[in-house]
């Protein structure tokens, strides 16, 4: 007993306990659901066999069924576009704004803080607001564009299958910019001012300073922001629920929303799990990049 007590106080016991706590949390709340999801993707699951493990295994049937769906390919490419375009524009616009607010002008920090207002709004609310903006017949955006003489007829942002995905992307970009900007602002603030001063004395132009000082020193933050951006974008569910429900005719459907539709609208929970597993694989790759980029940060 005494020995245990000593180990606990002075030795590695306490460290082990802390590690076990964190590990236990991860096992219960992350690893278990992940594994459960993978198991379900190989089983025939419906709503009424959710609680028991005793379900028929069907091998790769669920996988071939999901991949064989005619909508699989379009939904996959929609997801690629959704993630790619969202992250690209969130990053470039967010980075641009971060650089802008790095300038010293009155109210810069206040204005930067205001940008966060958009980010703290729940996705459903953002979806509802964008729904009003993008509505076809009486939407704000159509009204503005028509008043400016930019378009003649109305654009049915949400119900025209050739544009509905991009409406979702636009709303998601708006939603992600503040987060990108704040994280990148923090990174920018950490770059010592004297580096820039020295470069300026040596005659480096603004563009030169950006390319040779800002970008290399921001590498870790950029990597982190891109990885988190990809993960958040793959999580984006509420926007679709509020804007288009993946429609019309799957034109704006993405994997994460489809997984939900399969599981909870059609009760094909095994197949829904397959889609989740595919997304997990992708997120694991992205998470790996994220971990690498933050590790470099410590090393550098």
């Amino acid at each position: 007993m005494l020995r245990f007590d000593r180990v606990f106080r002075d030795g590695g016991g306490f460290d082990t306990l802390l590690v076990m706590l964190a590990l236990g949390y991860l096992v219960v709340f992350s690893a278990f659901p992940l594994i459960y999801n993978v198991v379900m993707s190989f089983q025939e699951v419906d709503l009424f066999s959710l609680a028991s493990f005793d379900r028929p295994f069907v091998g790769w049937d669920n996988y071939s069924e999901v991949m064989g769906e005619r909508v699989f390919t379009p939904i996959f490419w929609n997801t690629v576009q959704f993630v790619g375009l969202s992250v690209f524009f969130q990053l470039t616009i967010g980075f641009g704004l971060a650089l802008f607010f790095q300038q010293d002008f009155p109210g810069a920090t206040w204005l930067r803080g205001l940008f966060l207002a958009g980010w703290i709004l729940p996705g459903l609310v953002v979806g509802a607001v964008w729904g009003w903006i993008l509505a076809g017949d009486f939407g704000v955006l159509n009204y503005v564009l028509q008043s400016l003489g930019l378009i003649e007829g109305k654009i049915f942002w949400l119900s025209d299958p050739s544009v509905s995905l991009y409406s979702g992307i636009i709303a998601n970009i708006w939603l992600g910019i503040p987060f990108n900007m704040i994280l990148l602002s923090v990174g920018l603030a950490a770059i010592p001012a004297d580096v820039y001063e020295a470069a300026e004395l040596d005659g480096a132009s603004r563009l030169h300073r950006f390319l040779t000082i800002t970008l290399p020193l921001m590498r870790a933050q950029l990597g982190a922001v891109i990885s988190l951006g990809v993960i958040f974008t793959l999580q984006q569910f509420d926007l679709f629920a509020a804007l288009t429900r993946g429609g019309p005719s799957n034109a704006s459907n993405v994997l994460q929303y489809w997984a939900w539709q399969l599981s909870f609208e059609e009760y094909r929970i095994g197949q829904g799990s397959v889609v989740s597993v595919l997304m997990i694989l992708f997120v694991v790759i992205v998470a790996f990049v994220y971990v690498r980029s933050t590790r470099n940060e410590h090393a550098g």
Binding site: F48, G136, F156, S249, N250
Partner: protein, 402 residues
């Protein structure tokens, strides 16, 4: 396993306590909020039966199926609950609902042959009766009589056939004033199926036979409404409530929806609105209409079947009140003294006679999804109606063949 057994025995222990005190407790789940139907019913029933306590719990409409399935598998399901009518077969087929037929046969209150055929079919599964409709609803054609007059149409003679509906929609559409001829919903959810199924049924098809010439005609007519600008393209992503909102605002001259619109319409619509039966393919074609609203069901593993059935009986007996107090159509013919929205009520009562069930089938959500996909891919121009319906038929055959 052990945990489950412990939980069950604990549940028995809890249930045993009120039995000793000679009062019985039944749990009721509902999609209502306090003050609405089930809360009122529970309160009145408890007053009349002091030995029975009804615990009411609200569940979101969209969550009902999921929550119920989870509750059944963890062993804490309610005794009585509300289920939307297409889902009765889903639960009944898995043996989760109590077959009330033996009790109904002895009942002096519930007489199944009174109930309209549509609502009765929705609770019947393989010869058993697994639920009692708490009411019903259906759809019909709302139209703006003022716009009819302005367009030179006769407001006392609303469209009776699909051709007349098309002609009226065309005459009423005024793009320069942002007015569409018709509002309806072709959204890719259960609501889309709800709206399309009567069209399919009037043209001779049904959920198990969607690839018919009549269905092709119906779907092409829907496409025409949208392609020619007689209905908003947003019809594809908008439910019935929002679509009828545009009618109330004067942006659509007609709207296909149900009686649940009337309270809002009587407040918002500043014009002479009227209701007509859903137009049919031709004057002599059989009529059909959608069937909505849900049922009071008893779970199979209830430990208080008598008390639960008594409560269901009580709710059934209150049918004459549902229209004026709660806004549902009665599920069997009753005399409603001084009905609200009398003219519209008369049309909906007539329409109830033609209301047909969705299914019933234990895999209804999958069938419904196939129908939604056919509607959406035709209306977006991704596939011609013939091909979209053939695809849907193939999927439905797959489900039915299981």
């Amino acid at each position: 396993m052990i945990i489950q057994r412990l939980l069950t025995s604990a549940a028995f222990a809890v249930a045993a306590v009120p039995a000793l005190a000679e009062t019985v407790t039944i749990d009721l789940w509902t999609i209502d909020r306090p003050g609405e139907y089930h809360y009122v019913m529970a309160e009145e029933f408890m007053k009349a039966n002091p030995d029975i306590i009804v615990n009411v719990r609200s569940v979101q409409f969209e969550d009902m199926v999921n929550d119920l399935a989870r509750a059944v598998s963890t062993g804490d399901a309610p005794d009585v609950t509300y289920i939307d009518n297409p889902e009765v077969a889903l639960f009944a087929s898995r043996g989760l609902l109590l077959d009330m037929k033996p009790m109904i046969d002895k009942s002096s209150v519930i007489k199944p042959d009174q109930i309209y055929p549509g609502p009765l079919a929705s609770v019947t599964y393989e010869g058993g009766i697994y639920g009692i409709p708490r009411g019903a609803n259906t759809i019909a054609l709302y139209y703006n009589a003022d716009m009819y007059k302005a367009a030179g149409l006769d407001p006392d003679n609303p469209p009776k056939t699909w051709d007349e509906l098309y002609a009226a929609a065309k005459a009423l559409t005024k793009p320069e004033e942002n007015i569409y001829g018709l509002a309806f919903s072709a959204v890719g959810t259960e609501e889309g199926t709800f709206q399309f199924l009567p069209w399919l049924q009037m043209a001779g098809g049904d959920f198990n036979n969607v690839n018919t010439p009549g269905a092709v005609t119906a779907l092409n007519l829907w496409k025409q409404f949208i392609d020619e600008g007689l209905a908003s393209p947003d019809t594809l992503i908008r439910g019935q409530w929002d679509s009828t909102g545009t009618f109330n605002a004067g942006s659509a001259a007609m709207s296909i929806s149900g009686p649940w619109e009337l309270p809002r319409m009587s407040e918002e619509a500043k014009f002479d609105y009227r209701v007509a039966l859903l137009p049919a393919p031709s004057a002599d074609a059989p009529r059909a209409s959608a069937l909505g609203e849900g049922d009071n069901v008893i779970l199979a593993n209830t430990d208080q079947p008598e008390a639960a059935f008594k409560f269901v009986e009580y709710m059934y007996s209150q049918m004459p009140r549902v229209w004026n107090e709660f806004g549902y159509m009665p599920a069997y013919p009753v005399d409603v003294a001084d009905p609200k929205h009398a003219a519209a009520y008369a049309v909906f009562v007539e329409s109830m006679k033609y209301a047909r069930n969705r299914g019933p089938h234990a895999e209804w959500p999958k069938i419904s999804k196939a129908v939604q996909d056919a509607i959406q891919s035709t209306l977006t121009g991704q596939a011609p109606a013939e091909q979209a319906l053939a695809d849907a038929q193939a999927k439905i055959d797959g489900v039915l063949g299981q």
